[in-house]
Amino acid sequence: MWVTPRYPAAAAAAAAILLTVTACGGSSPSTSPTGGPAGSSSATGDAAGHTGGTLHLVAQSAGGTLDPQVNYTLQYWQLYQATYDQLITYARVGGSQSVDLVPDLATAMPKVSDGGKTYAFTLRQGIRFSNGKPVTTADVVASFRRIFKVASPNAGSWYNVLVGADACLKTPATCTLDGGVVADAKTGRITFHLTQADPQFEAQLAMPFASILPASAPSKDAGTTPIPTTGPYYFSSYSPNSALTMKRNPYFKQWSAQAEPAGYPDEIEETFGLTAESEVTAVENNQADWMYDAPPSDRLVEISSKYSDRAHVNPLTAMWYLTLNSNIPPFNNVKARQAINWAVDRAAVVRLYGGTSLAQPACTILPPGFPGHRDFCNYTAGGGTTWTAPDLDKAKALVQASGTAGQQVGVVVQNDSVNKSIGSYLTSLLNQLGYKATLKPLSNNIQFTYIQNTDNHVQLALTQWYQDYPAAADFLQVLLSCASFHPHSDSSINIAGYCNHSLDAKMDAANTLGVTSPSAANTQWGTIDEDYMKESPLVPLITPKLVDFTSSRVGHYQFSLQYYMLVDQLWVQ
C-alpha cells in the first residue's frame, strides 16, 4: 500500500507520509523509549479510571473521502479500526499478536472447504449500527456488492476471485455477486465461493474495504457524509478543511476484546490544516495529543533529546525504493539498471531519512521479518548477505558497458524535504555515473499517480510501499507482476513496467503452494525476490521506522504491527 507522504514540503504545507501497516511474525520489537514490551504502552496499570476525555489529534490535511470502501490512506484506516468492522480482522492489540486474524462480526474463523474455494462464516447476533439498526446478513451481502459498485481501489485485484466478480467489474451498477456471496438470514450463515483458491483471501476480508456497512449505504462514494458504524465510535462530523469528530456509538457493546475493544476517550477530534512544524509545537505544548504526520527532520533531535519519553519508534514492514523504467532508455538496458543498484549508497539514504535509528539499508524487495524474506544482497561491495557499501567503480563500468552514458535522466520525487533531499543525492550520483540528471519534484498529491502513467515517460522515480497485509504477494506480485502493469493508466502500480512471464508463473505457483503449505511457499517467494533483484527493475533503498509523538497526558500507547498506533486505546485522563 502506498500512503500519503509524510514530511513537510519546503515552502508549502504538504502532506506527510504515512504508512500502512507492518509486519509479520511480530518478531520485530518496538523501540519504545520505556523499553516496554513490543507494542505496549509506556503507561501500565489498571484501565479503570482512564475512560473519558477528548483525544485531540492534528494533521496537515484531511485524508479524503470518509467512505471505508473507497479510502486507501493510513490516516483513516487507523480511525476505521475504532469505527468499522469486518467479518474477521487483525487483532486490535499491541505487539506481535496484532498480525493474528481473529473473528470480528463473524462468530468464528471461517470453515474453509472445496480446496480453499469456499469460506463459510456465521454472523454474530445482536450487533447494531450506530443508527440503531441491527447488522444482518443482507448488510453483509450488500457490502460486498458495494465494493464493486463504488469501484473500491482493489476491487479488481483482491475481490475478483469471488464468483460473479467478473460481471460486477464489467457492470458495477447491477452487481449481485450471484453465487459468490450467499447468505442465509435464518441461520446467519454467509458463504463465499471463489473461482480459485487464494491464500490471501482471509487477509483481504480483514481489510477496511470489506467493512460491513448498512445495506442502505449509497451505491457511490459517500465522500464527506459518514456511513453508520458498528464499532465503539461513529463519525459525528467531518469537514475536510477543518476537522473530523468521532463520538461514542451508543449502540456499541463489546463483543470481542481482541477484535473490537471499547475505546477510552469519550470523543476523538482530528484538526486539519497545521504544518508539521506546528504539529510538533502543539504536541510539545500539550495542545494536541498526537500528530499524524511524522515530525520534520529538523525537529527530530529536539524530540529525541527533550521529549524522548513521548516519542515511540517502531519498525515497519515497508520499503523506500527507486523504480527504473525498463521500457525506455536508459533503463531498458539491464546493465544500466544494475549499475544504479551497485551505485546507490544506502547509508547515505539512511542519513537523509533521519539516521540509523529511523531506517536501515535494504537489499531485498521483501522487508526483513516479512513472510518470504530471505537475507541476500546482490549489490554490495565485497559481497555478503547484508548491504555494507556501494561499488561505484563497478557501477561506472556497467554504465559504460551499457552504452547509456551521457543520456538524460529525470529523477521524479515528491516535493517534501526528505524525498527532495534523497532526490538531490540521486541526481548528484547519476551525474557522477556519467548521466545528465535533473531533479523533478512534484506535489505529494500527484507524484504517485504521475510516475505510474507511462505517458509521462518517467525514467527513475523515488517512491514507497507499505504492506497491506503480511504476505509476500503484497509486495512482489503487486509491484512487479505483468498484471500490475497497465500502460497509459494512472493505476499501474508496476511502475518499472517490468514484465517477466517466467517469474509471473513462479509467483502463481507460489500462490498455489501457499494454500496448502505456506512455509514452502514463502521459501519460493524468497527465491523469486532474488530473481527479480538480478533483473534490477527496482532499487530497494531503506526499511523505515515510524515515530509517534504524543503529549505528556497520553498513556496506554499500543502499536499494532498491522494498523500502527491504536488511536482509541490511548488514555487521556
Binding site: D298, V301, S304, L352, G355, S357
Partner: protein, 352 residues
C-alpha cells in the same frame, strides 16, 4: 544651438571642455555627478561593500577548490572532514536521547573548510554561498540591464512617436502591469522551467540561467518604461527639442542627440535599483524552486536548502539572507546616491 541644449547634451560631460576664447567652461553634468558621488560617503561605502561582495563571489572557484578543497555541487552525505585534528562525519547522527535525526556539521569558522558548516547534502555552505552570489548577482545585473534597455527603448519610442505606436505599447505595458509581479513571474517560470524555451532555431534548456534572466527582465519592463515615457512626453514639449525639430533635425537625430542624453541619467539611476529588485525577485523564485535549478546554486536556493535546518543549523538559511540584504541595501543606497547626483528632483524610487 548649444544654448538651447539641456545639461545632458551629448558631447558634454565627463571630459572638461574649453571654449573657443580659451576660457574654461564649467564642468559638464557627468563630471559634476561623478564629483558628487565621490564626495558622498554613503555612495563610497555602498560601492566598497559591493566591490567586496562581488570580488568575494568572483573568487568562489578559488576558495572552493584551493582553500576549502570541496565540490559545492556534489552531495557528500557520507563524507568526513577534519575538525580540530579529529575526523568527523559531515552529517552527524544524533546521539542524544533516542538518537533520532542527523545534523550537518556546524560552522567551524576556519576558512580551510566548512566555515559556515554543511547543508543537508553535506556540501560546504561557504563555497555554495560564494557560488550562489555569482549566480544571484549575474541574474540580477543581467536582467536589470535587459530590463532597462528594453524599458528605455519602449518608453522613448512610445513617448516620442505617440499616436498608435504609443497606444499599442502602452496597452502592452498595461497588460503586464495588471499582473501581480510575482504571480506573473511564477506563471512564466512554471511553464518555461518545465520544457525550456523554443524560439525558432533558438532553444533555451530548462536549467539555463537565461530563463530566470529573461523572465525577471520582462516582468519589470513596465516599471522602467512608464516613467521614461512620461519623461519623454515632457521633454518632447521642451524648447530645445522643438528648436531642434524646427531646425530640420531628423527624428533619429532628435532621439539620439536630444532625448536619449536626457533620458540616460534616469536609466542609470534605475539600474542599481533594478539590480537590487531583480536579485530579490530571483531569490524569491529560487526559494520557491522555480528560479535557478540544481545543481546550480543561488542565494534563494540556499535559503530554501536551509529551511529544513532552521532549528539545528540556522546559518545555512541566514547566511545567504544576510548577504542578500547587504547587497540589496548597498545597491539601493548607491541608486539613491546616483539619483541625487544626476537628478536631485527625481522621484524614481517612489514610482517603482
Amino acid at each position: 544651438m548649444s544654448d538651447l541644449h539641456t545639461p545632458f547634451e551629448s558631447g558634454q560631460g565627463l571630459v572638461g571642455a574649453t571654449t573657443q576664447d580659451g576660457a574654461e567652461r564649467s564642468p559638464g553634468p557627468w563630471r559634476v555627478a561623478l564629483s558628487q558621488l565621490l564626495h558622498n560617503p554613503v555612495a563610497i561605502a555602498s560601492t566598497v561593500m559591493l566591490v567586496v561582495v562581488v570580488g568575494a563571489c568572483l573568487c568562489a572557484p578559488l576558495y572552493a577548490h584551493h582553500i576549502a578543497h570541496t565540490d559545492p555541487f556534489s552531495s557528500n552525505v557520507t563524507g568526513t572532514t577534519v575538525v580540530n585534528g579529529k575526523r568527523a562525519a559531515i552529517l552527524q547522527q544524533s546521539t542524544q536521547g533516542l538518537g533520532l535525526g542527523v545534523v550537518p556539521i556546524g560552522p567551524t569558522w576556519h576558512l580551510s573548510g566548512f566555515f559556515l558548516g554543511a547543508d543537508g547534502q553535506g556540501r560546504d555552505v561557504m563555497s555554495r554561498l560564494l557560488y550562489g552570489g555569482r549566480t544571484t548577482l549575474l541574474i540580477g545585473t543581467a536582467s536589470a540591464v535587459i530590463c532597462c534597455v528594453l524599458g528605455a527603448l519602449v518608453g522613448i519610442v512610445a513617448g516620442y512617436l505617440g499616436g498608435a505606436t504609443d497606444w499599442i505599447l502602452s496597452r502592452v505595458l498595461d497588460v503586464i502591469w495588471a499582473f501581480p509581479v510575482y504571480l506573473l513571474a511564477i506563471c512564466l517560470s512554471v511553464v518555461l522551467l518545465t520544457s525550456g524555451l523554443d524560439l525558432g532555431p533558438l532553444h533555451v534548456s530548462a536549467g539555463s540561467l537565461m530563463l530566470p534572466i529573461v523572465i525577471i527582465a520582462l516582468i519589470y519592463v513596465p516599471y522602467v518604461a512608464r516613467p521614461l515615457r512620461g519623461h519623454v512626453l515632457s521633454l518632447k514639449e521642451s524648447e530645445f527639442v522643438k528648436a531642434s525639430v524646427g531646425l530640420g533635425a531628423s527624428e533619429l537625430r532628435v532621439l539620439r542627440r536630444e532625448l536619449l542624453p536626457n533620458v540616460l541619467p534616469s536609466v542609470i539611476v534605475f539600474l542599481p535599483l533594478m539590480i537590487a529588485l531583480n536579485m530579490l525577485t530571483e531569490s524569491a523564485l529560487s526559494f520557491l524552486s522555480i528560479g535557478v535549478q540544481a545543481p546550480q546554486a543561488s542565494w534563494g536556493t540556499i535559503i530554501n536548502d536551509g529551511l529544513d535546518l532552521l532549528y539545528t543549523r540556522p546559518w545555512v538559511a541566514t547566511a545567504p539572507g544576510i548577504m542578500l540584504v547587504i547587497t540589496a541595501v548597498a545597491f539601493n543606497l548607491l541608486g539613491d546616491a546616483v539619483r541625487d547626483a544626476l537628478d536631485p528632483k527625481a522621484k524614481l524610487r517612489g514610482s517603482i
